[in-house]
């Protein structure tokens, strides 16, 4: 009896899952919307965190763990975070052995730098394109297993839904080939979802265009629990653009970049003034709110617009080239100014979803046999993610999910090959019908315009500063969009190479996930990490030290709450104007 596992998603989490499965001698089918090398992981710039203590500052995995829990405002369940942090140094060494071109110290060790929310230099990096370098290394390892006949890649195929048996177990997936939109069904004993983030729900963000969240959202509609949806990270620095908000890495501040605006005719370094202990190295939620305060409330943005200076013009251009070239190039190409000479102008942008599919400590969702890893799940960042922790979380989750999926599959009394073919045929027919129905849509609404409207509302009302009346109005708007969805027209293009039909398909679950995010925020009457309500400015542990769990019903999401596992560190007040107090394991 052979065990068959499917991995959906070709970013860091998906590739690592596939490598783990293939390494144990099992076969894996790997599905990706784009060639894996073009996955959104390539956009990660600043680096990957691990307490390797190269600079002799006395860093330790405990400090990294405490920074992560504290930075996440105590919302993350602590045991899996602790395991991840402890594995982080070995993950760096593994990537090093795979040939990732990490920057080096004079002696040839792996170099480290600082990112926000940390007092130590623990971010390992490859120029300012660390994500790209990591994914290329994993992609090559997968290619090696492809060569050995263990991995089969399906690139430019889209996940549509899972197949569930009578017991509710996940038994395979239904996918479509994006070239001809033909639907196919693939049985499997376990499925790992590694489908990334959802920035496109906010219209424009730092995310790639494939980051629609629709795979996770579709699973939510199929019965998977979605957790902490309301926690959306808005990164402090991006270049505003009509098509995309291009990220300007936190490593710019890590290497000495300073944020300022003019006040009374003089540069005002407001982060350094307000947060003397961390200065420009405060975590993202803190920096973003400060920039909003300066631009929106105090009207001190550059040229009266929503922009602040991000300044590296005082740094040594040689060091900039060695450590920040990738991002400086992006700024030069898209804005035209040279950041070595002229301060950059940036503004916050939606960047990362801390929330995602609910998973247990084995990365399994509430649907047996369905696992999730990477940004599409909720487990490692609490209410706010620290810079440099996403890459380690994606790789680590893949390292857990792969072996756990195999263990689950091997424990099954019946393999998917023992199930009646009609189960799979029915799932395929269901999706073919769905596609046929979309092809027949000939209303007046343009799906791209509907998406734009969704994004404008979400960006305006469900990001940095949240008010209950506006959240309610946004949910009503989303419901209006859900109504108007039925009046979409897709033109009369043929299936071959058609892009509007798959886009229209993705938009439906996106609208429903937008409700989860918005209503989750509405219900949570407190401020914690990235979730901030001026009417409820304090963290409220008594009522809200809880994971939000949203389940789909035809009438909208139904919410329940689960206590947070604080096994190691007792929640304490989170502040960055003074140094963080020292903690020790309370075991």
């Amino acid at each position: 009896m052979t065990t068959k596992v499917i991995v959906v998603g070709g970013g860091l989490a998906g590739l690592m899952s596939a490598i783990k499965i293939a390494e144990s001698g099992h076969k894996v089918d790997l599905f990706s919307l784009v060639p894996c090398k073009r996955s959104h992981s390539v956009c990660a710039q600043g680096g990957i965190n691990a307490a390797v203590n190269t600079k002799g500052e006395g860093d330790s995995t405990w400090e990294h763990f405490d920074d992560t829990i504290y930075g996440g405002d105590f919302l993350a369940n602590q045991p899996p975070v602790k395991n991840m942090i402890e594995a982080a140094p070995s993950i760096i060494y593994l990537m090093d052995r795979m040939g990732v071109t990490f920057n080096r110290t004079t002696e040839g060790f792996i170099d480290v730098r600082r990112l926000g929310g940390a007092k130590y230099s623990r971010t390992v990096f490859a120029g300012a394109t660390t994500g790209q370098q990591l994914i290329y290394a994993l992609d090559e390892q997968v290619r090696r297993y492809e060569d050995a006949g263990l991995v089969r890649r399906y690139e430019e195929w889209e996940f549509l839904s899972i197949v569930q048996d009578d017991e509710g177990r996940c038994r395979g997936i239904v996918v479509q080939d994006l070239k001809n939109l033909e639907v196919q069904v693939f049985p499997a004993d376990a499925v790992i979802m590694a489908t990334g983030g959802l920035g496109m729900i906010f219209g424009r963000s730092t995310n790639s265009t494939i980051n629609t969240g629709s795979a996770a959202a579709g699973l939510y509609q199929q019965g998977a629990i979605y957790a902490n949806g309301e926690f959306i990270q808005v990164h402090p620095s991006a270049i505003p653009g009509r098509d995309k908000l291009r990220l300007m890495s936190e490593s710019i501040r890590g290497e000495g970049g300073r944020v300022w605006v003019y006040k009374d005719g003089k540069p005002w370094y407001f982060l350094e003034e307000w947060y003397p202990a961390y200065g420009n190295m405060v975590p993202r939620d803190i920096a973003t709110r400060a920039i909003f305060k300066v631009c929106v409330d105090m009207k001190l943005g550059v040229d009266g617009e929503n922009k602040v200076y991000l300044d590296i013009s005082h740094l040594d251009p040689k060091e900039i080239n060695r450590k920040l070239a990738g991002v400086v190039d992006i700024y030069e190409k898209f804005v035209g100014d040279d950041p070595r000479k002229v301060p950059m102008q940036t503004f916050p942008a939606v960047h990362y979803s801390m929330g995602g599919l609910w998973v247990d400590y084995d990365q399994m969702t509430n649907i047996p046999g369905l696992f999730a890893a990477g940004e599409c799940e909720y487990q490692y960042h609490g209410a706010n993610r620290l810079g440099g922790n996403s890459l380690v979380a994606a790789i680590y989750a893949g390292m857990v999910a792969g072996p756990k999926a195999i263990a689950y599959a091997e424990g099954l009394s019946k393999r998917s090959e023992d199930l009646p073919p009609s189960l799979f045929e029915a799932a395929k027919t269901r999706e073919e019908k769905q596609n046929a129905a979309i092809f027949k849509m000939e209303g007046k609404e343009n799906p791209y315009k509907l998406h734009q409207e969704l994004g404008e509302w979400m960006l305006e009302n469900v990001t940095v500063v949240r008010y209950n009346d506006r959240l309610k109005a946004t949910d009503e708007k989303i419901q209006e969009l859900i109504e108007r969805y039925h009046n979409i027209g897709v033109g009369n293009g043929a299936p071959w190479g058609n892009q509007i039909v798959p886009f229209t398909r993705r938009l439906w679950p996106m609208l429903h996930l937008a409700r989860v995010i918005t209503l989750g925020a509405l219900h949570r009457n407190e401020s914690r990490g990235a979730h901030y309500k001026p009417d409820f400015p304090e963290r409220d542990d008594e009522n809200w030290l809880k994971t939000t769990k949203a389940g789909f019903t035809p009438d909208g999401p139904s919410f329940s709450y689960e206590p947070v596992d604080t096994a190691y560190i007792k929640p304490r007040q989170r502040r960055y104007d003074v140094a963080k107090e020292v903690t020790m394991a309370n075991v």
Partner: protein, 248 residues
């Protein structure tokens, strides 16, 4: 009336169909790039004659020139549509698909061959396993910096498009895959299987098919020194061939 930018786009419904050019007028905005213009056409698929048409199909993803997806021919040159700013382009702006790869639809082509070529040359490091075995070898800053230059290749296909020796009649794997051999062979552990990769480069469609036109390095959006890698591997494959002939 607000300023409009004219785009003349080569369209083709499928590989068997006849291609045609269609003109679009897109309202201008500051810092507009080609991708943003194509997005506007999606939202309003009407051509310059005012006729309703199908939205133009094209590929894109990261929109910041690190994923390589949105490569197309813009005013005669292969480059990424995201970093092609309208202000810097002669108008009307002509968009066409890459010609060295099988066409899918409109501006979309199938570049799988580039990934297959990476497999042919075994562009990976053969690690023992993913279990914890401590760090890899120490590497000097100079070696890291040279490797980083090569490792930025995003498999976009600009070098393939520019190379006269990559064409429908040849099996030449092209400059990108050769540079990746240089990258892996320059790594201390990668070097252990150096000869297997040299063998691959000496096979059909290998490095001997390079005609030394030197277009590739100029075409690379990441300024990867492709010709330097090719020259180096030319020497190494020759030396290896001699060694095989006489050294046994």
């Amino acid at each position: 009336m607000s300023k409009k930018i004219t785009f003349i786009i080569k369209r083709c419904d499928n590989p068997q169909a006849v291609a045609y050019w269609e003109e679009f007028k897109v309202p201008y905005f500051p810092k507009m790039n080609v991708v943003a213009a194509l997005m506007e056409i999606q939202k309003n698929p009407v051509n310059a004659k005012g006729e309703a048409t199908t939205p133009v199909a094209w590929e894109c993803n990261c929109l910041e020139e690190v994923c390589g997806a949105c490569t197309m021919i813009i005013n005669g040159t292969a480059r990424q549509a995201c970093s092609a700013l309208v202000d810097n382009l002669a108008q009307p702006i002509r968009l066409a698909p890459l010609t060295k790869f099988p066409l899918v639809r409109d501006l979309v082509v199938d570049r799988q061959v580039m990934f297959s070529n990476l497999r042919k040359v075994k562009a990976w490091i053969d690690i023992d396993g993913t279990y914890d075995m401590g760090p890899g070898p120490k590497i000097s800053q100079n070696v890291q910096e040279a490797a980083y230059e090569l490792s930025k290749c995003m498999t976009c296909g600009c070098c393939m498009e520019a190379c006269p020796n990559v064409n429908s009649k040849s099996k030449f794997i092209g400059p990108a895959a050769i540079a990746q051999v240089d990258l892996v062979n320059s790594h201390p552990t990668g070097a252990f299987r150096k000869e297997a990769r040299l063998e691959a480069l000496m096979g059909e469609g290998g490095i001997a098919d390079c005609g030394n036109a030197q277009n590739c390095a100029k075409a690379c959006p990441k300024e990867i020194p492709l010709t330097r890698s090719i020259a180096k591997l030319n020497r190494e494959t020759s030396a290896y061939a001699l060694k095989k002939l006489f050294g046994k």
